[in-house]
Every structure is written in C-alpha cells, then in structure tokens.
Subunit: 223 residues, 4 copies
DNA sequence: GATGAATGAGACTTCATTCAT
DNA sequence: CATGAATGAAGTCTCATTCAT
C-alpha cells in the first residue's frame, strides 16, 4: 500500500465541470438575449446567425453548439418569454382575492411588462408570425395558454357570483384580442407613448363586456 | 430582319390597344391571385417568385414585368384585399339606418368574407404582420382604416344617443382586436367550423362593451 | 380586318428558344468538363462547387441552375463516362468476328481510353469510391455492366467452341478485376508509363485463365 | 492549491506506470476499433471525429490526445489492418511446402478474414481508395506489399519448376485484382453469402492463368 | 411584352481542431 | 490525461433580381 501526496489543482475535475456548466449556461442565456435584440432590430427574416453570434460575443460555431439552428433559437426565445410572462401574471394574480382585481392585475402586468420591453413585444407579437408556418402552430398554443388564464379567472368570477354567467371562452378570447391589438398598435405606431396608459380606456370596455358595471375613466394608478 | 405581313382580327388600332391593356390587366390579376395562393400556402418568407410565376402560368420575367419585386406583389395584394373588404363593409353598412344594425352588418361582413376565403384571412391577418419591417408602416395604416370605420359609426351612435358616451377610438380597437383574434384562431385551429358562427357568442360581448344591453344567446341568424 | 406590316427580329421566339437551349446545353457540357478537371485535381471531397463554377466560367448559381447539387454533377459525370466507354467498347467489339479478337479489342479499348484520359481514370476509379455511400450502389451497377459485357462475349466464345466451358460470370469478374487493378496501379504509381503497354503482359494471363492457349510475349502492336 | 493524501492500490510505482501505459494502449485500441465501425458505417468522408469519440466511449479531446487528427486515425487503421492481414497470410503460407498449396492458403486466408470482418473489408477495399489524395501514396504501397507477396511465391513456384516461367509481377497484380473484385462485389452485393464460397469458382481461373492445369469444380472444402 | 438562363450576395450549417479547466 | 465548450474556415445551397434573346 503506497501513500502518495498528490497536488490537486483548485480546478479539480468536478469543479471544472461545474464552472464549465456555469459558463455554458451563461453563454446560452447571452445568446438568447442577443437574439432578442437582433430579431427585434432586423426581424426574423433578416436576422442572421452571424448577427446573433456577434451580438452575443460568440462565434457562429458557438451559437450552433448551444442551439441546433436559427429556428430553435427563436423558439427558445418564444418559450422563455411566454413562460416568464405567464409566471409574472400568475404572481400578480396571486396578490389579490377579488376576481376583478385579479383581472386588473393580470392585464396590467402584461401591459407593463411589454411597456418595459418593447423589443420583446415586437418579437413576440410580430416577428413570431413571420418565422415560418411551423411557428404558427406553437403560437396558437401560446395564444391559447394566455386565453385560458383569462378564461379560468373569468369562470371563477362567474362562480363566485361577481359577474353574470357568460361564455367565458369567447370572453377570454375577446380580452386577449383586445389586449393584443392595443399592444400591436403600440409597437407599430408608438402610441400611446406609455403603453400602460392604454389601460385606463381599455378597462371599462373589457369590464362592461363581461357585465361588470364601471364608471368611465377610473385611472390606472388606483389599481 | 424579316418583314412579315400579318392579319390582325381587331378592326381598330385602339381596340387592339385596349385588348393589350385587357390582357395586361388580366395577367396582373392572375399574378395577384396566384400570389395569394402561394403566400397562403407557404408564408411570405418561404414563397418564391418562381412559385408565383408557376402558379400564375407566367414566367419569372413576366412577373417582374408587372411588379417591381416580391415585396410589391405582397403590398399590392394587401391593398387590393383591404380596398375590397372596406368597400364590402361600406356597402353592407349603407343598407341599414340603425347604428347597431350597421355595426352588426359590418362585423358579419368581415366574418363572412374571410369565411369564404380562408387563404385571404391567413395572408391578411397572419402573414401581413410577420412579413417584415417594410410592411409594418402600411399595416399600421390599414389596421387604422378598419378601426376608423368602426370608430366612426360608434361615434355616430353616441351622437344619435343610441349608446352612452365612450372612448370610441379604443372601442374601435377593442372590436377590431376581438374580431382579429377570433379570425386568427379560426385560421389556425379551424374552429368554429363555420367562422360566422363565432358571431353569436362574440356579439353580446362587443355590444355590452359599448354599453348596449343585450340578451345573451341571440342567434346570429336573426341578425 | 387590318393588314399590318410587322418586323420580326431575327431572334424570333422559336429561334431564340433554340439558341437558348443550345447555349444551355453548352453550359451543361462545360460544367461537366470542368467538374472532371476539378474532381481529378482535388478529389471529390475537396472539390468545391465554387471551383467547378470558376473552371467552367460560370457562376455558382449557374451551376446550380443546371444541376441540383455537387453529388448530381458527379453522378452525371459518372454516367456519361460509363455510357461513352461502354459505347466505345461495343464499337470496337463490332469490328471483329473472332471472339478472342473481340475480347482483345474490348480490353485494349478500355486501356487506351483511360491512357488518354488519366484524369477520367482517376475520377472514375478512385474518387467515385469517396463520394459517399450513395455512390457505391451506382458504382456496383456500373461494375456489373462492364462485367456483363465481358461475360456475354466469353459465353459466346464458349458457345462457338472457341474456349472450353467455364464459369463465365466469375471469369468476367476476374478479367474486370485484373483490368481494374492494372489501371488503378497506373493511376496511383504512373507505371507503366504507357498504360497500353500493360496489355502485352496482361493478355496471356487472362487468356490462359479461360483456357485459351497463348504464346507469351505477343506484343500488343499486333492486335 | 490543495494537497491531498491518496492511497494507491498498486504496490509499486513502476507497476502504476505500466498500468497507465496499459490503459493508454487500451484506449488507443478502442479508438481504432470504434473508427473501423464508424468508417465502415458512414464512409471516411461522412465520419466525424465526434462519432468516433462517442463510439469509443471517449471524448473528442481524448481522441486528439491519442491521434493527431482524423487522417492519422484512418491511416493507423489501414496500417494495422495491413500488418495483421499480412501476418496472417505469412502464417498460413508457412504451413505448406508446395507453392500451389501456399497460394491457396494465402488466398483463402484473405477471403476468410474479410468474410469474418465485412466492415474491415469495406473500409480497407473501398473507403481506403476514396478517402482522398493524401492516402493514395500509402495505398499504392500497401497494394504493392500484397502484390509482392503473391509475386514472391509465384516466382518461387517458377524457380521450383512447378509452373512455367511467367511475368510474375503482372500475375501478382492479376491475382490481387481478381481477389479484390470478388471481395468488393461481396461487400456491395452480399453475394456470395459466404465469401469463401467464391474461391471454388475463382481458383481454377487463377491457377490456369499461371499455367497450372486444374480440373474444374474442385470444391473449396478439399483445400 | 415574354421568357428563362444566369448572376451573386448571403444564408445556414458542419466539423476538424484547439484549449482552458 | 480527459473533457467538451468554443472557434472559424469552408461548404452547400437558395433565390430575388437582371437581361440577352
């Protein structure tokens, strides 16, 4: 039996592995962030993987190490955005008990999030449509996820007797469509300057549509 | 250089000229029709000028004789669709005096038109937004034109005292957004089977949103 | 009824069509010729479509207009070579009545053809093996075509009683393999300097293998 | 820098060293074995170092530790195959005294070896020639080594008066070429099912080609 | 006016090789 | 010694657009 004294570098295998993993995850995120900027700036069609590589301070090959291709990057971006936004929405909803307050919180969260990330809004709402037929399917699913959230809470409101019985599915779709339109209009025209400001005018319409009586012009700040 | 003597059936130079014009306009239309099919089938991005040429029984050169390029074809298609649809809407509106009836007529016209032309719906509502930054300006304008029509008639309704005073601009946008969402959902999922059937559920929500009292479940056929 | 005098350009549609076709066929051939040179010089693997385009005084796109891809170019080259060589062989065979003379003529034709076109020999015998698994199948077929020619004539010789009954299939394969080896060796080593010279030594072995008595060292020139 | 005390099971430093060597040699062999499978499956061109690394349960870096590059792996594989095969041939030859028996033994050894290792046959006979110009030099040498073995023993047979004087060099090449062709045909077509069975038909032709009288249809089993 | 061969910029992608850990 | 993330050169292919015929 030999007893040997061995020097182990601080960068022991397991540590090195973790560091590599950390750096890799970092790069992964950097690529997605860069992709968001590039897609937003040039559109899906005109964005090149080279652009993304440059913007993320990586090489083209590096990008392809982390993602199978341009489409996959876009899809990953879409998924990340949708997941995060849905999480934010659920968080903001959880704060409130009153179904109406929940609805307000959810809608405002969406508007405020996109307001702070116009590039995200552009990519999520516009470029996603031009990324090819394959994305339409996924986009439809994402639309449905959002619509479902609205519908679920409207149904709850009905159950609690806060609003009259309505077709919550179509109501969810109407709310989503309205919100969608306001955001797209803001992305395309830049108006209103602050996207959240649209809510003051949007709210009464949505509320009334599901039978909630409202006074016009209740300012968004009070919510 | 060969000199040939040819008999032309036309009895008049100007007529011949007119025939040429007619043929040119024919081809122009054929190209647009083909473009619609191709864009609907493959999306703007993946549609090639070759596809359009083939589908319109012309050559690539022929397409380029009639249009400066791929973008111009798409834009012309957009314009034609928008113009025709707006015309149809105005026609259907002119039939009625009651502002509410006008609104119903307008919305149903849109749904019925797209119901008959799903390819048109796909291109106009999905591809147009995702076709790239060059189209965003024009798309914003087109969306505004439609919103403006709704808004104008809502404003009239307010003026006539049929509905309470509301922010008609945002109302127009909400109506447009809701309609848009219903149509897109139909294009992507095929539901409801008959797009017009969506109106029965959609109507009460829209009406209530602008303060018109409605009984739920009023079937679309009665409108 | 109008009678018009029209000038028809010498480049009338049908003529232009023919000229275009002619030029296209020309370009097609030029690309194949260039491909032969490039494949021979750099090997299939290292030959780029750019190289072929440059060598054929065309653009990359031009090459892709005439061929679906690099593999197709190579395949076309292979087919053309095989077809031409088989034709030459059949021609040379048709000159003679004596089965033995036919065999001599065929073998010498192959050697002489490749002797004049070493690049062709290199591409046909070596590069064809490195062009990917898909080509192996086609190469096997081509090998069989050549083997079949030999076999057919050996069988005829047996039938005419010129040689004793033998397994002509394996004999065809032996002859083909021997010839193949001599040519590959010449391509790889450059020996013998004149490929045809190999025949003087090769002939007695092949002849004896099928039971034809020969005097050694019958010079090729006498054939 | 961390200092650790480790117990090593080995009782002797030199033994540990030897173990390292053994492990290295093991990995070296594993890589070559994996390379054979990969090259056989995908061809030299389409085989990637990643494939080889994966197949040999190593990492890409590991492969590059043992070999300078992809070409070197292929070359090493070629050398190993050639060396082993030549050794086997010499062994089998050494068993016999009669030159004809020696020849039979040699040819059968080749057929039997490849029959058991079709992947080896594919790589050695097909891929090696098509792997690119860099290998041609070495392949020419390897082919010559095999041809030389045949030639040497044929020359001996001539010297011993067993066969008439012939050009043994070309005879060696014919034998090699014939064998080569039979094996390639088997690799590509799978016929005959048992490669060794080809010898029964091949043998009389080869023997006659060098002036050895044979009765047709002497079955391989008697050899 | 029509045709389709030709152009060429630019896209995506692969992969042998390197090297920090 | 091993690992695998990263590099970047090079390749194949697409397609909007042009233009001689």
């Amino acid at each position: 039996m030999v007893v040997a004294i061995v020097r182990i570098k601080a960068t022991d295998a397991s540590v090195a592995f973790t560091m590599q993993q950390t750096r890799a995850r970092d790069r992964h995120r950097r690529i997605l962030d860069a992709a968001l900027r590039v897609f937003s700036r040039r559109g899906y069609r005109d964005a090149s993987v080279d652009d993304i590589a440059g913007e993320s301070r990586t090489s083209k090959g590096g990008v392809y190490f982390h993602f199978p291709g341009k489409e996959a990057i876009f899809l990953a971006l879409l998924e990340r955005t949708a997941t995060r936004l849905l999480e934010k929405i659920e968080e903001s909803i959880a704060f409130h008990d009153d179904p109406i307050a929940k609805a307000d919180a959810a809608l405002l969260t969406v508007l405020r999030t996109f307001a702070r990330h116009r590039a995200l809004a552009r990519v999520f709402m516009l470029e996603a449509l031009g990324a090819g037929r394959d994305f339409h399917q996924r986009m439809a699913e994402i639309r449905n996820e959002f619509t479902a959230v609205i519908q679920r809470h409207l149904a709850q409101a009905v159950q609690q007797g806060v609003i009259e019985p309505i077709d919550t599915e179509i109501a969810g779709r109407v709310w989503f469509g309205a919100l969608n339109e306001v955001i797209i209009n803001w992305v395309l025209s830049g108006r209103p300057e602050r996207l959240e400001d649209a809510y003051a005018a949007l709210r009464p319409l949505l509320m009334r549509s599901v039978g909630v009586a409202v006074q016009p012009h209740r300012p968004a700040e009070e919510l």
